[in-house]
């Protein structure tokens, strides 16, 4: 009796794979509904509203020099801020995970403050500190460095609000990396730099990319903390969210949504790229 029933079992509908965990359809249905209500429908409304302009109107609204300058500033400053946060967030996470020192818990708690603080408060504080007569600004001004009311100020605010994202994504992964792995590298003759570059960084790369993506996403949409320190000079230090607000104040709702649509699409594409990069780096050591 070697003849086996050869007809493969009819492949069930993709979503109906058997699982011992009950409630899959209920949970998935709920998730989709929730996503639709909270995210998709409002975003779709943005897209829909922008179509009122027609192609020509849309093009006109989004290619004015002032708008283009704000695109450049917003995405440029957000990318730079996220990159800076990756470097310093890694150092922060490293210090918190690897060393025990008095005040560590307080430092750990302080990291989350940019999450909790009303962004306007942060913006005003930063603007006051970095203004030419502020505590830090007065030190920098004689050196010819102006921070407040320039694109650099925008960068400072975006770094401030993005830091927790990197620290909080890297920290648990770093905690998971046993000190033994570093000891093994040392026993094999690697110096600190080689251990860092060849062992620690590759291991942390997926988490660093996640942190980067989150810090970037947050920075692109940030409004409150930036407008106070930015000075909001047309063509120089106006960010996209501000452009949208400006349009809204002029009752140009369609124009505002047109800018929002561009912002959404570019942000989505960039985040998608980061996620792909992350999936690619993760594949190496998560293959099972």
């Amino acid at each position: 009796m070697t003849a086996l029933p050869l007809a493969p079992p009819r492949r069930a509908f993709f979503f109906r794979q058997h699982s011992v965990l009950p409630g899959f359809s209920l949970a998935l249905g709920y998730s989709v509904l929730y996503l639709a209500l909270i995210v998709l429908i409002p975003l779709a409304a943005v897209f829909l509203k922008s179509t009122e302009l027609g192609w020509a109107g849309f093009w006109h609204a989004t290619t004015q020099p002032r708008v283009l300058a704000s695109f450049k500033l917003s995405f440029g400053a957000s990318l730079i801020a996220a990159a800076i946060n990756v470097v310093f967030g890694l150092i922060f996470a490293w210090v918190l995970v690897r060393y025990r020192f008095p005040g560590r818990r307080i430092m750990d708690a302080l990291i989350d403050l940019p999450f909790a603080l009303p962004t306007a408060v942060a913006g005003i504080a930063l603007a006051t500190l970095y203004a030419n007569n502020g505590w830090i600004g007065s030190i920098l001004a004689p050196l010819g460095i102006e921070v407040a009311y320039t694109p650099v100020g925008v960068l400072v605010a975006l770094i401030f609000i993005g830091l927790p994202f990197v620290v909080r994504t890297v920290q648990p992964v770093l905690e998971d990396l046993e000190a033994e792995v570093e000891e093994a590298a040392a026993c094999l003759g690697a110096n600190r730099w080689q251990t860092f570059r060849k062992v620690i960084v590759p291991y942390l790369t997926p988490a660093l990319l996640t942190g980067f993506a989150m810090a970037f996403a947050r920075a692109v949409g940030e409004y409150g903390s930036v407008i106070f320190i930015a000075g909001n000079m047309p063509m120089v230090s106006e960010i996209m969210p501000l452009m949208i607000i400006t349009k809204l104040e002029q009752y140009d709702y369609a124009g505002a949504t047109a800018i929002a649509v561009v912002m959404l699409v570019v942000a989505f594409v960039l985040l998608l790229l980061v996620n792909l990069l992350q999936a690619w780096t993760q594949r190496a050591h998560q293959r099972n």
């Binding site: 033994e180 000891e183 094999l188 690697a190 099972n288």
Partner: protein, 363 residues
Amino acid sequence: MSITVSQINKRFGSFAALDDVSLEFPSGELVALLGPSGCGKTTLLRIIAGLEQADSGDVSLDGVDAAGMHVRERAVGFVFQHYALFRHMSVFDNVAFGLRVKNRDQRPSETEIRRKVTDLLTLVQLDWLADRYPSQLSGGQRQRIALARALAVEPKVLLLDEPFGALDAKVRKELRRWLRQLHDELHITSIFVTHDQEEALEVADRVVLMDHGRIEQIGTPDEVYDHPASPFVYGFLGSVNLFHGRVDGQSLRVGEHAIDLPSHDLANDAAAVGYVRPHELQLLPDDGKTQGGLPARVLRITSSGALASVELSRGEGEGEHLEVTVFRDTLRQLGVKEGDRVRLKPQRVQVFSAESAAPLLAA
């Protein structure tokens, strides 16, 4: 390379991990550091590797003081209990790591590295896994890769920290035979830490027994098993039956019975404890004709394979429990069953004073 440690002290807070430890590891030997957890064996290994600093004392490698030497310069291969493989690297890259981080002037060419790594993977019999990642390997395979990785840099000493501790019993048994064979081929000075006495006795040329940060005994597996230097060693190297009594010339009085003793240096009438291994107690049926020995009652007989383990109780009811190991055939010939009365004759006894045995009994 020979290793000498002298007068090493190491404390963690108020806990003395190592207390004035001096030891010599001759070149080419496979030595086991054996002891219960917290006895300081791993700490000693890590101090030799340079992963930990001793509070005082010296380590010298081949007669050269290692105090100022960094881990990198000590030329030790270290194998960790949980493998510590680089998860984001393939098996090949893991093994090649030590070669690739060498200074440019000492670094072999990529073809040379390829040849060497392939040789090592063949040595650990895992050349077919070169392209896999650690997460795709079993525990035993991971540990063999870790060993190949450690050997890649041609260390003069191999230090293994509970290398088989995280593996299941069958794999552990296979791997320790394999480690022994590998050592016989390479003759590299090796120290391995274990809390498993069977593993230490089976694999090592010499066994160093440690307890509470001190060395209890050093010797070949036969020496430490046959002539334990202290009650601790006796108890740690396998099960043991204890007979409490008083010394009376060349015998030990246990109640109204007596056990013959070998030569000893205990005073007459001193409180003492006789140590007898389960297989060194002769079991005889109590048919009225048997002379001498201690009376006991069989509680339970459990057999596994060729051997049977007989649980006995001395005196009536819940007396002291004893254990005897005999061949099942012997037991069948004697016709001893559960509930029977028997007499026990120790074939070999070692006696220690009651004070020296006390800390062990309290534990």
